[in-house]
């Protein structure tokens, strides 16, 4: 599984939404499934999948799928094909 697939799976499972719904534009609090509780589960899942420890600034900034990619890139996680 490549990093993009891992990322989509983490979002899909944490927010309990179909994989197809995980696009760059998906944003915190714009769907009922991505609320604060799901956000906490998502952070834990991303940390587990990519073996990183996010700091609070990153957790606050992680407001969309696109942002998640940018933030994880700072931890040397690449999403290029």
């Amino acid at each position: 599984m490549n990093n993009l697939e891992k990322l989509k799976k983490a979002f899909s499972e944490s927010l309990a939404i179909p994989l197809e719904q995980v696009t760059d534009n998906l944003t915190y609090n714009t769907i009922p499934e991505w609320d604060s509780t799901a956000h906490m589960i998502l952070i834990a899942e991303l940390e587990n999948q990519f073996n990183v420890m996010l700091d609070t600034d990153d957790i606050i900034d992680m407001s969309s799928v696109a942002k998640a990619k940018d933030i994880l890139a700072n931890y040397e996680i690449e999403f290029d094909a």
Partner: protein, 197 residues
């Protein structure tokens, strides 16, 4: 002589700080309060004049039953928060029931996990420093986002209606806020990341 600032402590935690309102904040507060995006979920939508606001500020400087703060994140003012004794004759140090109220004025942080930080900080202060027994709030029934937000923090619905009354005790707050607090308290930045940058 007219007061220029209020007399309660600045609070810091969960990445933000709560700065007591000073006279210098009044113009910004008036602009925020009169912004329809902010006032639409308030109980009153009446526009505030300069005179009304000056009178309000002079009152809160002398009133020990309420405290008003500016929410600050990364040196930027992003919103406003207040707490009031629910029992008018009692000060915040004496009252068993406190009513908090807040809005995030900066649209970048309205739909953001950071919006929990000021509430966590003031709730800790109310329960642990002011030693109140219960927090209460009133939410307009069409403000589902605010209702969900408060329920996540452990508030229970006390009365349904056009205005929904909710309440929170310390035990429920501790139970429901534990994970959020852990998430918003992480620091300092991990060494691993700094080494890579």
């Amino acid at each position: 002589m007219a007061e220029t600032h209020t007399h309660h402590p600045e609070l810091t935690g969960y990445q933000i700080s709560l700065r007591p309102v000073s006279k210098d904040d009044l113009q910004q507060l008036k602009n925020w309060r009169n912004d329809p995006e902010i006032s639409r979920f308030m109980l009153s939508q009446t526009k505030i004049s300069d005179e009304q606001q000056t009178a309000w500020f002079n009152k809160i400087c002398r009133d020990n039953s309420q405290q008003h703060y500016i929410i600050v994140y990364k040196d930027q003012d992003i919103g406003s928060l207040n707490i009031k004794s629910k029992i008018r004759a009692k000060s915040l140090l004496e009252t068993p029931i406190i009513e908090p109220g807040l809005y995030i004025a900066d649209p970048r942080y309205r739909n953001n996990i950071l919006a929990f930080s000021p509430t966590l900080l003031i709730n800790d202060y109310c329960f642990e420093t002011l030693r109140c027994e219960k927090l209460v709030a009133t939410v307009k029934s069409d403000n589902q986002a605010a209702l969900n937000y408060n329920l996540k923090l452990g508030y229970q619905i006390v009365k349904q209606g056009e205005l929904i009354e909710i309440a929170l005790n310390f035990e429920d707050y501790q139970k429901c806020s534990k994970s959020l607090k852990a998430l918003l308290s992480r620091s300092p930045r991990p060494v691993k990341k700094e080494q890579r940058n």
